[in-house]
């Protein structure tokens, strides 16, 4: 029982991180039909922004984290939209998908060339001690990760549902044409989702990098897990991405512990295939009308 509880909490913690990444992914899809194949690299990069701010500019950790946040929002949010998505989206979904695959290669190679191919240690946000509750041992780190993920998701939900801007963003996601007719500044709302995505990947990067170290290849599997989480939960809903992410983290952890660590990756992939084939709209998603 204690084992199961431990696995559950650890799974929820990593699942919470996947959920953050997946939420950003679905936000971009909903408002601008951008499928970002570089989303994993987007999570890999902010950790390096922080490391560069600390190593080359001598900033203390928390200042470097703040700088990393600003750079992430500007580069991965604003510039990504202005320089890549805007010129390309008129060609349709596929060219943008290909371009983001190219962007992923570019980001990986730049980190490898200019920073190094090693796995760099990254300071954890909290001391790595454990607490014992009801006979099960939890690491403070996973509890903190879980708490931060919940806080971020709740804040995002409050923003989307409780503020005028948030509701305008939802309107943009549901029907841009009508939203524009009603006076919503659609372009600006789309920009906001890109900025939010920049902030989400920054948080995810700060949470996951202390566990897996900062390495230029991190984005490969992170991106894959984010896609899987987004699709399992439902591509067109923020709620779906959260459920998908948490579910994925838990399933992944249990599969590694009880089924086979060699095939741990296979279980999420099979869930993905089954969900796409039998419930393409995702576990929580709405059915989208098909258009020609």
């Amino acid at each position: 029982m204690a084992d199961i509880l431990q696995l559950l909490v650890a799974g929820l913690a990593t699942g919470g991180i996947y959920a953050l990444v997946a939420v950003g992914f679905t936000l971009l899809w909903q408002t601008s039909q951008t499928i970002n194949f570089a989303q994993g690299e987007f999570v890999m990069l902010p950790a390096f922004f922080v490391l560069i701010a600390m190593g080359y500019f001598g900033l203390p950790f928390w200042a470097a984290v703040a700088v990393g946040g600003v750079v992430s929002v500007v580069v991965l949010g604003l510039l990504f939209k202005k320089w890549m998505v805007d010129p390309m989206i008129r060609h349709g979904v596929l060219p943008l998908v290909i371009a983001t695959i190219g962007l992923a290669i570019l980001m990986k190679e730049m980190v490898r060339e200019f920073y190094g191919a090693d796995a760099w240690p990254f300071p954890a946000l909290a001391a790595t001690t454990d607490v014992a509750v009801l006979g099960a041992v939890f690491s403070i780190q996973s509890l903190l990760i879980l708490a931060i993920c919940i806080a971020v998701v709740v804040a995002l939900q409050l923003f989307l549902n409780g503020t005028r801007t948030g509701r305008c963003m939802q309107a943009t996601a549901q029907n841009p044409t009508v939203a524009r007719l009603l006076g919503v500044r659609v372009e600006r709302m789309i920009l906001y989702t890109f900025l939010i995505n920049g902030a989400l990947v920054w948080v995810a990067s700060l949470l996951i990098t202390p566990i897996y170290l900062a390495k230029f290849t991190n984005g490969e599997w992170l991106g894959l897990y984010a896609f899987i989480a987004a699709i399992i939960g439902g591509f067109n809903q923020v709620r779906g991405a959260i459920v998908g992410g948490l579910l994925l983290g838990v399933v992944d952890n249990f599969a590694a512990a009880y089924i086979s660590s060699q095939y741990r990756m296979a279980i999420p992939l099979m869930i993905l295939i089954v969900v796409i084939l039998f419930r393409p709209q995702g576990l929580l998603g709405r059915v989208e009308e098909r258009t020609v």
């Binding site: 596929l94 695959i101 190219g102 290669i105 570019l106 060339e113 899987i228 095939y263 796409i276």
Partner: protein
């Protein structure tokens, strides 16, 4: 028009002559890279049929190259002659590709991309973990090279011509295929599936066939890959190669017959010539992909096409028909 055709003929003839003569000026490593180009081009031609002509995105081509390579490696090291394993590899991939086509009947575009991506990673995991069959991470070594009509293909030069002959055969077969009713049905499928269906094209069957033929060519490419390296291990067949093959097809010009040839030059040959640039080559490659997608989503050949005939309206034919409406139909999700 006839001028263009003449120019194209001259370019083709000189390219063919160049490919026949060039290995004499190269060291064995250069010949190896050229052979690799031929092998990868075959895989990219397969993907171009699935993606460029039939409009079905697939991120699983590396898995088929891998299946073909492993079947050939496993059976030839067990003492089988080359040709039966080669045929068996191609047919197996055709069959698996057919099965993988079924998801394409249900879902499209990005969902299909993810299903095929998941399939590729599953196949990779099997290659890596089923040691009794695939040798795990150590792979299968000492894969023999075939002999043709008693001539041994052991030397790099002989095997290069062997690969080149395969490329020529595959190209000829594909050239014929895309001019046959099947090829026209593929294009109809890409341009407007519902119209195709209403005109009596069996879209179900052609979707499956498009996947299966593309996969079969991947298998053939793999069956050449194994004896070329004389060694197979799981790493080359991970998702990276599938993405790379996709980039080759799109970079060269998806839906153009010669797109894969050109794309494979950029992705396989150029990195070797530009080796002195080290990591910068890949950065340049990535930037090229991004810039090309911004200005010419139909790839290098699409760009050339646009530059050489600016005024005339292109007609979408099965022959060189660029997917000019594909981009627009993509936006309708």
């Amino acid at each position: 028009m006839s001028n263009r055709r003449l120019a194209a003929g001259i370019v083709l003839a000189s390219a063919g002559a160049f490919l026949l003569v060039v290995p004499f000026g190269l060291k064995p490593y250069g010949i190896f890279i050229l052979s690799m180009w031929a092998v990868m081009t075959i895989a990219a031609i397969g993907l171009n049929l699935t993606l460029g002509y039939a409009g079905q995105i697939s991120l699983a081509q590396a898995a088929f190259v891998g299946i073909g390579a492993y079947i050939t490696a496993y059976l030839t090291t067990k003492g089988w002659p080359f040709w039966p394993t080669y045929v068996f590899g191609g047919i197996s991939c055709f069959a698996v590709g057919w099965v993988l086509g079924y998801p394409a009947l249900r879902v499209q575009h990005h969902y299909l991309a993810f299903v095929t991506l998941a399939f590729n990673t599953l196949v990779y995991l099997i290659f890596r973990n089923e040691e009794w069959l695939t040798g795990g991470i150590y792979g299968i070594s000492n894969v023999p090279r075939p002999s043709v009509l008693g001539l041994s293909m052991n030397s790099p030069l002989a095997f290069y011509y062997f690969c080149l002959a395969h490329l020529a055969l595959v190209s000829a077969a594909t050239w014929w295929l895309i001019r046959s009713p099947w090829g026209r049905a593929f294009v109809a499928l890409r341009e407007n599936p519902i119209r195709a269906l209403s005109l009596g094209v069996d879209t179900r069957r052609y979707t499956l066939v498009a996947f299966a033929i593309g996969a079969g060519l991947g298998g053939i490419s793999g069956a050449l890959y194994a004896p070329l390296l004389q060694f197979v291990d799981p790493t080359p067949f991970a998702l990276g190669l599938s993405l790379n093959l996709l980039l080759m097809v799109v970079l060269g010009g998806s839906g153009y017959f010669f797109g894969p040839f050109l794309g494979a030059i950029v992705a396989v040959l150029l990195p070797e010539w530009l080796r002195f640039t080290q990591g910068f080559y890949l950065m340049g490659y990535a930037v090229l992909v991004i810039v090309l997608m911004a200005f010419s989503p139909t790839g290098l050949l699409g760009l050339a096409d646009r530059l050489t005939r600016p005024a005339r309206r292109r007609t979408a034919s099965a022959a060189g028909g660029p997917p000019e409406t594909a981009a627009e139909s993509e936006t309708a999700r």
